[in-house]
């Protein structure tokens, strides 16, 4: 028995437009929610043009598609995820299926490599592929089980419906984050900080997963059904609370030497969407906790991906730097009821940069007025004690053109970091 995807009407219109527009194969992502009970596809977005591609975008570039998926995945609040890939092409069905299979595995591998939360037993591991023939408009839908490297395509149903998410519920909360992790004694590279912080984030993620989740003030039994979606077209918001207990430290030495420490302190707004087909409390808890972990991990990752200000080794003297994690800004997805996507705004960015990114990544036309930046406030940062007053201005000029091409930043930053690391090795006298 194959899976059955219920798809928002707007997706049909979007795919149709793509069919009539472009020559050459068009790929894109299918976004929605896949649970044991139901599968929904609520949005799609085409893969952005790759200006640097060798053949001008005529062939399908697996890495490019996967990188797009990774970036998009960061922009999806809880409950929404990249479910699969579509391709619009006239090619032979068999070839296309092979391509789709490769894409879906590659996308899933890249996205899951960044995840800090542990997959649950009841997670759906099927990914969906859609092949649309632009001439005949025929669509073929298949699924692959990405947990099984040898899996074969299984047929699946693809049904359009209007108002799929009009009565979906929104679970949200505002959560304090307070992490402190020691840095090892011989602190030569920025890389060390990255690893320490990532390890600590994993521990913190487990703490969140263990936390007690209250829905509307109560601890509900796992299988109890939430009163979501009982009234059509009524927005439903559920407030959630999370109670945590610290990890029990088992290290024998209570006082340890260190080369400093990294802390992340503040609060985040977390949000998850639940389908309206008698969702269970267990699902709400799972999706919200995953969003909490993802939003913090994503932001830390983004901050670490930024080119670091180069500080010279200053032995003995205390150096302290503060950076703001970017704040979360939401953008409603038109005509899909309560759903929204999100992006992260650094303190030196304006809302126009956000709308540009929504257009590039998700092919969404959003105006600045549509954006909701009220959930989080950018905090004040004190002046860093290291001496580099002249540098910030130059750096901003350097960074702006990169920011517009978001994927470009990710790729280029990796190169920059390597260069930086190389130069540090040369300059420092460790």
């Amino acid at each position: 028995m194959g899976r059955s995807y219920i798809v928002e009407d707007d997706v049909e219109g979007y795919l149709s437009r793509l069919c009539s527009q472009l020559a050459g194969p068009v790929t894109g992502l299918l976004i929605g929610q896949s649970t044991v009970q139901r599968d929904f596809v609520v949005m799609t977005t085409r893969t952005p043009q790759n200006d640097e591609s060798a053949d001008g975008g005529k062939s399908v570039d697996k890495e490019w598609v996967s990188e797009h998926a990774r970036q998009v995945s960061r922009m999806l609040p809880g409950g929404l995820s990249v479910l699969g890939v579509f391709i619009i092409s006239e090619s032979d069905a068999k070839d296309t299926l092979t391509t789709l299979r490769q894409l879906v595995f590659s996308v899933e591998n890249l996205i899951s490599s960044e995840r800090l939360w542990t997959p649950a037993d009841d997670d759906v591991t099927d990914c969906v592929t859609l092949h649309v023939n632009p001439k005949t408009r025929k669509t073929v839908c298949r699924t692959f089980d990405v947990k099984d490297p040898k899996s074969v395509a299984k047929p699946a149903d693809w049904k359009y419906q209007s108002g799929v998410c009009s009565s979906w519920a929104t679970v949200s909360c505002c959560l304090s984050v307070d992490l402190m992790v020691p840095l090892p004694e011989n602190m030569a590279f920025t890389r060390n900080m990255d690893d320490c912080l990532k390890e600590e984030l994993k521990v913190w993620a487990q703490q969140i997963e263990r936390g007690v989740c209250l829905i509307d003030g109560k601890k509900l039994p796992e299988d109890s059904e939430l009163k979501a979606g009982q009234k059509k077209n009524v927005r439903q918001t559920i407030s959630a609370q999370l109670l945590i207990t610290p990890d029990v430290q088992t290290a024998a030495d209570v006082v340890q030497r260190c080369g400093g420490c990294v802390s992340v302190r503040g609060a985040i707004h977390s949000r998850a969407f639940l389908h309206s087909n008698k969702p269970k409390a267990k699902l709400a808890e799972k999706l919200l906790k995953r969003d909490i972990v993802s939003t913090v991990a994503t932001r830390v990752q983004m901050l670490l991906e930024e080119p670091q200000k180069q500080n010279e080794e200053n032995k003995g003297r205390k150096q302290m730097e503060q950076s703001c994690l970017p704040r979360r800004v939401f953008c409603p997805v038109k005509s899909t009821g309560p759903l929204s996507v999100c992006d992260y705004q650094f303190s030196d960015e304006g809302l126009s940069e956000m709308t540009d990114r929504f257009k590039e990544m998700l092919d969404m036309d959003a105006a600045e007025e549509d954006l909701d930046a009220t959930c989080e406030i950018i905090a004040e940062v004190i002046e860093s004690e290291a001496t580099e007053e002249e540098e910030p201005a130059e750096e901003n000029e350097m960074l702006d053109p990169w920011r517009n091409n978001y994927i470009g930043v990710a790729m280029a930053t990796a190169v920059a970091l390597l260069a930086l690391a190389a130069s540090i090795m040369y300059l420092s006298d460790v």
């Binding site: 610290p246 006082v255 420490c261 830390v300």
Partner: protein
């Protein structure tokens, strides 16, 4: 330090970990102490904050004590009401008023366990996080404080009052932990402060003391002496060794042995008679335990094990209960037996029991001899005195049997006597009902003894230490 009310029937116990994390720029004594004190102060503020939550274990009841939010119950309800929410594994009590309230023999104490948690969520909007990176050679203090507070409460106390007392106890415990941490600090070596509860004789009741974890009992004698003075306790018996820690009624013993099966018995009432019992806790050792088939020969060994268990659980010794082989090895070491004795199934008597207690535990014992079983009836006074001053279990061997005497009921005027016997010949499972109903632990009359055989009794003496 809470007074025990003899009518109060419930202990409120709050447990939960608290993170003690502190960056130490300088490890000189004074700055380090200041940094640690500041961290403790921050923790005290944290438990007084509105994010502090008490969760009643195994129930949906949640309490925010610092903002008076009570989930599932009302603050003015009596504590009894909480019991209907608690799900126990015992099917009979689920959902109904618990039978724990009924008195079995003696006061049956119930425990309500609560967990300390912090609410991580708060009203928005959120102030986006800041990442701070400090590069400096320093030290980091990172430990988990095992908070554990217990207060007496009566059934009719309101939930609100009970929670207030628990929160006060929590703050007090943080102060005590700070004191112990700073006192036991040696350079950069710190011991995590650990609370232990002790049930002291009236009027003190249940008392909580913070000790540095990992510090052996023998290093803490000065602290114990001070505590004995503070609570006006005699200075010749231990009350504050780790083994003396109170065992909460709802916690099963991990080793599976029964403790003090005699407490469920109804003691005999004799004309002008009084009951003199063993003081403290022992484990019931008998045939076939520990996968050792000693049926027919091991009774004195088992009685000895029961006695050893008493010395361990009262805190006089740290070593565990010895096995048959270890007992035999000890007798070889003192020269009482040949090497071939080890691994054999030979019986031992009171003299051997005395020798082993001395060699393995450093405990001296008195030997009492009666030439005929009938004479035991006249030993009422001596046995009564033994239980009053030493309170240790007595091993008695004679005829072909060995038993353990846990107490006597004796009338000074009529001379009537009964003996509370723990029988090591039992071969069954640790079933309290079977053991007490079938008399494996029970009161016996003078005719229990072989009237013509001679008997030796080993009366272990309690060491005069704290």
């Amino acid at each position: 330090m809470v007074l025990a009310d003899s009518e109060s029937a419930v202990i409120l116990r709050l447990r939960g970990p608290l993170d003690l994390k502190c960056q130490l720029d300088c490890i000189d004594e004074v700055p380090m102490q200041k940094a640690i004190s500041r961290t403790f102060e921050a923790l005290r503020l944290q438990v007084k904050s509105e994010s502090c939550v008490l969760a009643v274990c195994n129930s949906p009841v949640l309490i925010w004590p610092n903002k008076s939010v009570f989930e599932e119950i009302t603050p003015d309800a009596p504590f009894e009401d909480i019991f209907q929410f608690i799900q126990t594994d015992d099917q009979e009590t689920s959902g109904k008023r618990s039978t724990k309230k009924k008195n079995r023999k003696g006061v049956s104490t119930s425990v309500i366990n609560l967990s300390l948690m912090m609410e991580a969520t708060k009203p928005g909007p959120a102030s986006a996080p800041i990442l701070t990176r400090t590069v400096q050679k320093s030290h980091l203090l990172c430990a988990t404080l095992p908070m554990d507070c217990a207060v007496w409460s009566s059934w009719s106390d309101t939930i609100k009052d009970g929670c207030e007392r628990l929160m006060k106890a929590l703050t007090r415990q943080l102060f005590e932990m700070e004191k112990v941490t700073l006192q036991c600090m040696k350079g950069t070596t710190l011991r995590v402060p650990e609370p232990l509860h002790f049930l002291l004789p009236e009027p003190n009741g249940l008392v909580t003391v913070v000790f540095p974890r990992g510090e052996p009992d023998k290093e803490l004698e000065a602290q114990r002496r001070e505590l004995h003075g503070q609570f006006e306790l005699p200075d010749n018996r231990p009350f504050f060794r780790r083994a003396n820690a109170y065992h909460f009624p709802n916690e099963p013993y991990k080793d599976g042995y029964l403790r003090n099966p005699h407490t469920v018995l109804t003691h005999p009432t004799l004309d002008n008679g009084k009951v003199y019992l063993v003081q403290g806790i022992y484990s019931y050792h008998h045939y076939m335990q520990d996968r050792m088939d000693d049926n027919g020969w091991g009774c004195a060994y088992r009685s000895l094990q029961t006695i050893c268990s008493w010395f361990q659980q009262q805190g006089y010794v740290e070593r565990g209960v010895p096995s048959h082989k270890e007992i035999q090895q000890a007798l070889v070491e003192v020269g009482d037996k040949q090497a071939s004795f080890v691994g054999s199934r030979q019986w031992i008597g009171s003299i051997e029991v005395q020798a082993v207690l001395n060699h393995l535990l450093g405990v001296t014992s008195k030997i009492m001899f009666v030439s005929q079983g009938s004479e035991l009836a006249s030993k009422g006074r001596e046995l009564a005195n033994h239980f009053m001053t030493e309170g240790t279990p007595v091993m008695i061997g004679g005829g072909v049997l060995a038993h353990t005497i846990l107490g006597v009921a004796w009338s000074e005027t009529t001379g009537e006597i009964r003996y509370l016997i723990l029988d090591p010949h039992y071969t069954g499972a640790e079933d309290l009902q079977v053991i007490t109903e079938k008399g494996w632990c029970g009161w016996k009359g003078p005719d229990f003894w072989d009237q013509t055989a001679y008997y030796n009794l080993c009366l272990p003496q309690r060491p005069r230490v704290i």
